[in-house]
């Protein structure tokens, strides 16, 4: 457990040169447009998501400034409506899910010992589609066309009669972009995790982070189509006079709510489960033992993924749905606390019997547990229909979901940033700045969001651009706004830390945390080909179990991009597969998708134009290359995990 694999055995200088020549990105700007390296693409996802996080943070800060005093004049009602809608939309669609996708896309191949993800070109395309969606909606926001009907845009307010102009249309199409990107990433993560693992990495040896990413991906596949349908129906109602949400013609305003929340509830677990995966990943390094309860943790993640789809009506308790039906969702919403609780108990058990090392990643993990437990408590409270009917759509709910999201998504994310920054960049982030970052954020979160529980119970509804002096809400709002400043400053500290450490951070070796998982078995930053030779795994903690040298398997091609495919259950070598290499066509296809959907905002002509352009681009994308070598080479099944002949 304490001995780590000698990384030197995995790097041979000649092999490194050969492989790097095949796998590295092309130089310059064209390299940027053509890369299919999962690490480059994942870094982009994370960086872009962080920029959106900052933008949403500025929106939040402005809102808090407006609400700090009653009848304040910083934002009028129209502007405020755009701000809170953009804040929610950015955080939910453009930050939280893409950042977890990015973290997953970076880590999953490294955690399973693969050279790249399963579908590298689609991976590239997914990012561009996400970027186009984000630029679309922010472009709209900057020219007064930002959506103003809330991030969940209930009809009929978001419908054609009550939201004039193109604001909501832009929003509806942005959803399409982010949803396509998420679906692509989901398919990629599942395929990579199930078919490209190192020999010996059977299902019960897969790192928990990979399990979390896989469950997240399955949830994306089942949830995203619902919101895509909803936004499609809304766009059609607005553009071509369909009547999906028009009661006068047989539609129903509640249909929107069902379709949206069927996605919306799993969405928050899509964001949360990778967060739990991150904590389970880093705890071993900072407690010097493998995480306790691997089967329980994995089954809890899977159970949460399933149960999450049975909760959506708890967003609709104030609507005229039958009481008996609502009771089912109360029970499910309360019972989802069980798998979440199991994870927390297992983590506490790990810490209890381990030897804690108080570095920034552990601090953020502890902070995340504290904040998430508090949010989870209010979560079980609002599972109750009578209680929820009082606090629904008030600041109590705002407090609840910020606690669970900050605890379950943001704090684990920051923990992961501090933990994996060395692997991504080769340098360590500053511990001192990290501790400042943590404490400012921890204090700021409580200062901002704890008073909101009280505000909600005192009757302050959500989404109000101002409130009257006589309500008495001014003082708590002021405290919350000051807390927001503290959070803001903690993010500034983090940015400063990152910028400074990129140049001047301490050089990290391959495994600065003395960690147990495979991503630490290669250099920092990881080379373009991830692993020179495919590691062979015989336990859950490969680097702690393998003693001085990590066993590897050789035999993949050195003159082209080739990856190893293994079987689903036991990860026996199955075949070798050639990857297409770097290409610009994913970018072009993404542009045609952009043209297709953006034109559709303004005119149905987008359909034929976009289809034709997209078809041409996509045909070129998938056109098979002439090659004298077979792209897939089957391997005989009975060969043990040792040297495999070419």
């Amino acid at each position: 457990m304490t001995a780590t694999a000698r990384v030197e055995t995995l790097v041979e200088p000649e092999l490194d040169l050969e492989l790097d020549a095949v796998w590295r990105n092309r130089p310059g700007f064209i390299g940027w447009l053509t890369t299919t390296d999962h690490k480059s693409i994942a870094k982009r996802y994370v960086a872009t998501a962080f920029i959106f996080f900052l933008l949403a943070g500025v929106e939040a800060a402005t809102m808090r400034a407006q609400l700090s005093r009653p009848e304040n004049g910083i934002l009028g009602p129209d502007r405020y409506n755009q701000f809170f809608t953009m804040h929610g939309t950015t955080m939910m669609f453009l930050f939280a899910v893409p950042v977890m996708i990015g973290v997953g896309l970076y880590l999953v191949p490294l955690l399973v010992g693969a050279r790249n993800v399963a579908f590298p070109r689609a991976n590239a395309m997914g990012y561009w589609v996400y970027l186009i969606g984000g630029v679309l909606i922010y472009g709209g926001f900057f020219v007064n066309s930002g959506p103003d009907a809330g991030w969940f845009a209930y009809t009929p307010l978001s419908g054609p009669e009550f939201s004039p102009g193109k604001r909501v249309d832009i929003w509806a199409q942005m959803i399409t972009f982010t949803e396509i990107a998420a679906l692509i990433a989901a398919v990629i993560i599942i395929t990579t995790a199930f078919r490209m693992r190192s020999p010996g990495m059977s299902l019960n040896r897969i790192p928990i982070m990979v399990w979390a990413s896989v469950v997240m991906s399955f949830m994306i596949i089942f949830a995203m189509p619902s919101v895509a349908t909803a936004s499609l129906f809304l766009a059609m109602d607005r553009l071509i006079s369909t009547h999906f949400f028009n009661a006068a013609e047989g539609g129903d305003a509640l249909l929107w709510q069902h379709l949206f929340w069927f996605f919306g509830h799993p969405e928050v677990y899509i964001m949360f489960l990778p967060g739990t995966g991150i904590i389970s990943s880093l705890l071993p390094s900072f407690t010097r033992r493998s995480v306790f309860g691997y089967p329980a943790l994995v089954l809890s993640i899977i159970a949460t993924g399933f149960i999450a789809f049975g909760l959506w009506v708890h967003h609709m308790f104030a609507t005229p749905l039958p009481q008996l039906g609502q009771s089912f969702f109360t029970a499910a919403s309360a019972l989802v606390a069980i798998p979440n609780g199991i994870q927390i108990f297992c983590w506490i058990a790990t810490i209890w019997t381990g030897r804690p090392i108080f570095r920034t990643p552990l601090l953020f993990a502890i902070g995340s547990i504290i904040i998430f437990v508090m949010g989870g408590m209010t979560g079980v409270m609002i599972a109750s229909v009578p209680f929820d009917l009082q606090v629904h759509d008030t600041y109590f709910i705002v407090a609840h979901f910020h606690y669970v999201i900050l605890g379950g998504v943001v704090f684990p994310l920051f923990a992961g940033m501090y933990y994996w920054f060395p692997k991504v960049t080769g340098r360590m982030l500053s511990e001192t700045a990290g501790k400042w970052n943590f404490w400012l954020m921890f204090i700021g979160v409580h200062a901002t969001f704890f008073p909101m529980h009280q505000l909600g119970m005192e009757g302050m509804p959500r989404r109000v651009y101002t409130y009257l002096e006589g309500t008495g809400w001014g003082d708590l709002n002021l405290v919350a706004s000051l807390g927001a400043l503290v959070i803001f400053s903690s993010v500034v500290v983090f940015l400063g830390n990152v910028i400074h450490s990129l140049r001047h951070g301490a050089i990290a070796g391959a495994n600065p945390w003395d960690a147990e998982s495979l991503e630490w078995a290669t250099t920092s930053p990881a080379p373009s080909y991830n692993f020179a030779n495919t590691p062979v795994v015989s336990g859950r903690a490969p680097l702690w179990e393998s003693g001085d040298e990590l066993p590897v398997m050789t035999g993949l091609a050195r003159d082209r991009q080739q990856v190893l495919l293994t079987t689903v259950l036991d990860a026996e070598p199955d075949s070798r597969h050639d990857h297409p290499g770097h290409t610009i066509w994913p970018f072009i296809v993404a542009l045609t998708i952009g043209i297709f959907f953006i034109t559709l905002i303004f005119s149905p002509w987008g359909l034929p134009i976009g289809t034709v352009l997209g078809f041409i681009a996509y045909a070129r994308y998938i056109w098979p290359k002439k090659s004298h070598e077979p792209a897939i080479v089957e391997l005989p099944r009975s060969v043990p995990a040792a040297e495999v002949p070419k």
Partner: protein
């Protein structure tokens, strides 16, 4: 900077400029407009023929041209003020003339429509002077022109949450006002 980079930046700027110029006016929400008021009714011209050789254009700008919010407010007022009672819910006409065709008895210029609403007209059109604020009248003017499809497509109203008798202005063809022998033509098509 490479050639590719320069092109990309230029394209982005172009896109932003296009978006900016088309986006701004459409989405403005102006709550306390002080639009041209009395002047509009005194300077309204009902004929394109003028004595003498020169023809001076009398087309007027109206403050809510291409403003989606104002047009949708006009849509609301059209029902609330019961214009629909005489002109039909979709502007198809009943005891009052239709508003969604290309025939404009008193002219299709915004100032003509403003005058029609404020002054009233023979044969049953009430005078709304003093009953609706100028701002509200201009919103109605915008909506009436919208019914004939005289606005840009992205600015037009879409369906209301009513029965489908109220038709969808956004996908209707533009009804270019036509000159007719018994009606003065508008100088602003």
């Amino acid at each position: 900077m490479r050639c590719g980079q320069v092109t990309r930046v230029l394209l982005a700027l172009l896109a932003l400029v296009t978006l900016a110029t088309t986006g701004c006016k459409r989405e403005e929400r102006r709550f306390r407009e002080v639009p041209p008021a009395a002047d509009a009714t005194t300077n309204v011209v009902m004929s394109t023929i003028q004595p003498g050789p020169s023809i001076v254009s009398v087309a007027t700008e109206h403050p809510y041209d291409q403003n989606a919010y104002a047009i949708s407010q006009g849509q609301r007022l059209y029902v609330q003020m019961n214009c629909a009672g005489c002109h039909g819910l979709a502007g198809g006409g009943s005891i009052g003339p239709p508003l969604l065709d290309d025939k404009w008895i008193y002219g299709s210029d915004p100032s003509n429509i403003f005058a029609t609403i404020v002054e009233g007209r023979p044969n049953g059109m009430p005078s709304w002077r003093g009953k609706l604020s100028n701002d509200q009248v201009w919103q109605l003017v915008a909506y009436i022109r919208d019914m004939a499809g005289l606005h840009r497509k992205d600015v037009r109203t879409s369906r209301t949450d009513d029965m489908a008798a109220v038709s969808d202005n956004q996908n209707r063809n533009r009804q270019t006002p036509r000159p007719s022998s018994d009606a003065p033509a508008s100088t602003q098509p």
